[in-house]
């Protein structure tokens, strides 16, 4: 059995590996090492703290309390507190309407004859989509047999779809 791919490793990490994948994992040191790296990454993400620290919450609350206790400053206390809250909120609340997004030049993947089902010279999801439609219509060509099992079926659609989104390595 070939080495487990990243998706299979992730399923193994979450206890969803198939018996054959699990058997391979128990014997293969390379896959065990990659699984270990994945588990370490997951653990570091889960352990990461999130949210506003309680000490900051308490500091803001104290600041507001002090503002309102100073009676002789009452004429400016309310606008000052509002301004202070706005300043504090601006530090914590991320803008929701204007993320920094730049136009990206998409990576063009050239398709060979065996995968260019959409017939436009590019490998993308439209090839998998076209193959899915041809499989449903029972109109697929033998040349589109991605896994070489002699049949063009959903498994070939899945392989082609994965190839379309595969990371550059």
């Amino acid at each position: 059995m070939p080495h487990l791919d990243p998706l299979q490793l992730e399923l193994a990490r979450t206890g969803e590996a198939t018996p054959s994948e699990q058997a391979h994992l128990e014997e293969c040191a390379a896959c065990q090492a990659r699984l270990g790296g994945l588990e370490a990454l997951a653990a570091s993400l889960i352990a990461a703290p999130a949210g506003i620290p309680t000490e900051v919450d308490a500091r803001i609350e104290l600041q507001i309390h002090r503002h309102f206790r100073r009676r002789r400053w009452r004429p400016v206390a309310i606008p000052a507190a509002v301004l202070a809250l706005a300043a504090a909120a601006a530090l914590f609340v991320a803008p929701t309407s204007r993320p920094v997004v730049e136009a990206l030049e998409p990576a063009v993947r050239t398709a060979s004859a065996g995968v260019d089902v959409h017939a436009d010279g590019k490998l993308d999801i439209l090839d998998a989509f076209a193959l899915a439609r041809r499989v449903e219509d029972d109109d697929a060509r033998p040349a589109w047999d991605q896994d070489g099992d002699g049949a063009v079926d959903d498994a070939d659609v899945e392989l082609l779809a994965r190839a379309a989104v595969e990371a550059w390595r």
Partner: protein
């Protein structure tokens, strides 16, 4: 009290909050998790297949959710190996459903970020139910925090 004095008091109080010890550390170094919604705008012909490329800087993608429209609820296809890289291809299609004209949330990216992330975004392909390339546009929005 004169308006000048009031102005000085307001400015000092505002700066006190902004300069409180530990506050800068909290905003600059503490990581937080945020959800960013990927939207597809379909101006004319309904879309049955789409592929988008996203680059994420100053943040890490820790999860990907599917869309809101029937037939596109499953998470889009992506290469898990690309999660640790800056560039990520996402794609989905359906042979039984389409995204009608209008705006659709087609995926949600969950990020671990320490500041403001920057993104690159491109629509690689969009096709109608009969497989023809059609016009569409993509954009990202951060999911508002729940009250």
């Amino acid at each position: 009290m004169s308006w000048l004095a009031r102005g000085i008091v307001v400015a000092v109080l505002g700066s006190l909050v902004g300069c409180a010890p530990g506050l800068e550390d909290a905003t600059e170094e503490e990581p937080r998790f945020a959800a960013w919604e990927l939207w597809l705008e379909v101006p004319e012909r309904p879309v049955a297949a789409w592929q988008v490329e996203v680059s994420v800087h100053d943040a890490t993608v820790v999860g990907i959710e599917g869309g809101e429209t029937d037939g596109f609820h499953d998470p889009p296809l992506y290469d898990p190996a690309a999660l640790v890289e800056e560039r990520l291809a996402l794609a989905a299609f359906s042979t039984t459903a389409v995204l009608d004209t209008g705006a659709h949330r087609i995926a949600t990216l969950h990020l671990r970020q320490t500041g403001e992330p920057r993104f690159g975004l491109a629509l690689v392909a969009a096709a109608s139910a009969d497989g023809e390339r059609v016009e569409a546009h993509v954009h990202l929005e951060e999911t508002p925090d729940e009250p």
